[in-house]
Amino acid sequence: MIKQMLTRLLAKSLWKQKTSTALIVLSVASAAALVSAFLNLAFHLTEQVAKELRSFGANILLVPRSDPLEVEIGGLKYVAPEESAHLEEADLVKLKTIFWRHNIVAFAPFLSRLVEIEGNRALLVGTWFEEEIAIPAGKGLFTFASGIQREVEPDSGKFRTGLKSLARWWRVEGGWVGEDGQGVLLGSQLAQRIGVGRGGVVRITYQGRTVLFPIRGLVQTGGVEEEQVFVHLKKAQDLFGLPGKVDKIQVSALVTPDNSLAIRASRIGPARLSPEEYETWYCSPFLNSIIHQFEEAIPDSSAKAIRQVSEAEGAFIGKMRLTFMLTVALALLAASLGVMAAMMTAIFERRQEIGLMKALGADGKQISLFFLLEGGISGFFGGVLGYFGGLAFARLLAARTFSLASFSLPLSLQGVILFTTLILAVGLAVVGSFLPMREATRLEPIRAMRGS
C-alpha cells in the first residue's frame, strides 16, 4: 500500500507539473541524445576511420626470420640473391587463420631484385595485384593457459587481396596487371626516364635472361615506387628462379590503440604476462598481439610494425575518443545544471505542498525520496527519448558529415549503449535533483505554507 501510494503520488505529481517535468525530461534527453549519438559514433566511426586509415597502406611487415641485414637506398635493395632468406608463398593464406583473422583487411607478397630495364637499372617487384585466395578452415577454438576458451567464427572461404587493396591511394594511369598476370605496371618516373609509355613494351633482363613485357599502366605514388616496375609474383619468381618464394609480406590490419596492458606486453614481452593478462592481450586487436599471432602462424617469419601508419591511426582514434568524451562530459554538466534549475523552480512553486507534507509529519528522508524519485523517473524517460534521438542524430551525422551509407551496430552493442545512456540519464537527473532536494528538506513548514 505504501508503494502504491508513493507511485500514485509520483505519477500524479509528475503529470500535474507537466511543464517542469517536460523541462527536466528535455534537459536530460538533450544530454542523453549526445551521449547516445557519440557512443554510437565512437563505436561505429572509429571502426570506419580505422578502415579509412588502413587504405593508406600496410601497418605490418613480415620478413624471413633469418633475413640478413639488407640495405635499401632509394627503393633499391643491395643484397646478394643467394644471401636472401625467403618466405613461402603457400604460407600467405595462414595470415587469415589467426585469432584476429577478421581484422586482416589486405595483404600482398613481394619478391624484388635489381634488373636491367631498357638498359637502366631498376628494381623489379613481383607481387599480387588482385588475387582471390581460398582460406583454409583454420582454428575455431582458442584455449588459453588461464583455462578460458574463445571461439572465432570461420571466415567466408574466399578472400580477394593484393596490391590493389593494399595501396589504394596509388594513381594508376591505364590499368592494373590483370588476373592473367601478363604485363607490367611501370613507375611513372622510370617510364619517363626510359622514354616509354602506356601500350608500349619493355625489355627486362636479369642475370642474362631477357623477357618482354607489355606496359599495362603507369603508376604515381609520390614515393620510390615511381622508379620501380611491378609484375605478377609468378613472373618474378620465374625470372629470378625462385618458384613459390617471397621476400616479404605487407599486411593491413585493423588495430586498436595501445592501452596500459599493450604497453606492458611490449615492454616485458607477452611471455611474462600472467595467464589472465596474456589471454586479454591475445584477444585484443593490439598491433603487437596481431604481430605475435602472425609469427605463430608462420614460424619462419618475423613481423614488424610499420609504426608511422599504426601510430597515426592510434593517435587519431585516441584523440577522437577524447574529444567525444569531453563533449559528452560538458553536455552532462550543462544538462545537470538545467535539471537543477528546473527542479529549483519546481520546488519553489511547490513550497506550500512541501510545507504541508512536513506539517503532516513527513521527514527529510521521505521528502528526499519523493524528489529524487521524481528526478530519477524524469531522467529515465529523458534517457529513453535521448537514446533514440541520439541514434537518429548519429545516423544523420554519419550520412551527412562522414558520408557513410550504412550505419549499423550489433544488437548487443546497442544494448550496451542504451544501458549506458539510461544509467547516465538517471544519474544526471538524480545528481541535478540533489541540491534542490536538500533545499526542500530544509524548508520550514510554516514559512513554506505561507509561501515565503
Binding site: I2, Q4, R8, K12, L360, I446
Partner: protein, 243 residues
C-alpha cells in the same frame, strides 16, 4: 487531571524586536475544547504553531503529553507532529492533484500505512461519502475543510489544532464544520481552535484570549450542556478580569 498541554512563560520574539508571544502560561486538559481568540497579530497562530511543534519559542517551556517539546530535535518534532497532532488550516492546504481520499491517505502514508477503507470511512463521517474521488478544485470551500478535518483525525491524534477553520467559509459551511467539531468533542478529542470570530469561540469549553502576545485572563463558562444540545442555541458567558 494532568494537563495535556502546559506552557510556562512561553515567549517568541522575531529579530529581537517583535514580540509575538509574551510569557504565556496556560494549561489544557485532555478532552477539553479551547478557543484561542484575539485580534490580528495578537499571537494566536504563533501559539498554535508552538504547540504543533512547527515553530520554536525564544524562551519558556512547553509540555505536551508530559514531554517538554521545546527540547526536541528536528527529527523528534517531525515524529511528534506525525503521531500526536492533527492540523486544520484556514486555507485548507490540500494537495491539488490528489483526490479527497488520497489527501486523507497522504497523512496515513506519512504516519504509518495508508488504508483506503479507513480514509473513505473518515470522509463519510464528515459527510463526503459521495465526493471521495473529487479533486480539491471540484469541492466547495466547506467540503475542502471537511477533507482537512478528516485528514486531521485519520491518525487518531491526541490534540487537534485548528487555525481559523471557518475563516474562509460562509455561514452554512461554518455551521456544518462546527457540528463536526461538536461531534468530535463529544467523542473525547482535545480541540484547540484559533479564531477571531466570537461566535466560534463561544462554542468552546473555554476561551483563552490573547492581546499583544499576552494572555488576557478569562472566566471560563461551564457549558457542558452543549454536549447534549444544539450548539447554535448556546449563549456563551465570558467575563474579563480587570487588568
Amino acid at each position: 487531571m494532568e494537563p495535556l498541554i502546559l506552557s510556562h512563560e512561553l515567549s517568541k520574539n522575531y529579530n529581537g524586536k517583535v514580540c509575538a508571544l509574551d510569557r504565556v502560561s496556560l494549561e489544557i486538559c485532555p478532552g477539553e475544547w479551547v478557543a484561542v481568540m484575539g485580534a490580528s497579530g495578537s499571537g494566536k497562530s504563533t501559539l498554535l504553531n508552538m504547540i504543533a511543534a512547527l515553530d520554536l519559542p525564544t524562551s519558556g517551556a512547553l509540555w505536551v503529553d508530559g514531554v517538554d517539546i521545546v527540547t526536541y530535535t528536528e527529527e523528534e518534532r517531525v515524529r511528534f507532529r506525525r503521531e500526536k497532532v492533527g492540523l486544520i488550516f484556514q486555507h485548507f492546504y490540500l494537495i491539488p492533484y490528489l483526490t479527497a481520499v488520497e489527501n486523507v491517505m497522504l497523512a496515513q502514508y506519512f504516519h504509518s500505512m495508508p488504508d483506503k477503507g479507513e480514509a473513505e470511512e473518515a470522509l463519510r463521517r464528515v459527510g463526503l461519502g459521495e465526493r471521495l474521488d473529487s479533486l480539491p478544485s471540484e469541492l466547495s470551500g466547506g467540503e475542502q475543510q471537511r477533507v482537512c478535518i478528516a485528514r486531521a483525525f485519520i491518525n487518531q491524534p491526541k490534540i487537534v489544532l485548528a487555525d481559523e477553520p471557518t475563516g474562509n467559509l460562509d455561514a452554512t459551511n461554518e455551521e456544518t464544520i462546527m457540528k463536526i467539531f461538536h461531534h468530535l468533542h463529544r467523542a473525547g478529542h482535545t480541540l484547540l481552535v484559533v479564531t477571531h470570530d466570537p461566535h466560534i469561540g463561544q462554542q468552546a469549553d473555554r476561551i483563552i484570549e490573547l492581546d499583544h502576545g499576552r494572555v488576557v485572563p478569562v472566566v471560563s463558562s461551564q457549558r457542558s450542556f452543549l454536549k447534549n444540545t444544539n450548539f447554535t442555541l448556546s449563549i456563551p458567558i465570558k467575563e474579563k478580569h480587570p487588568t
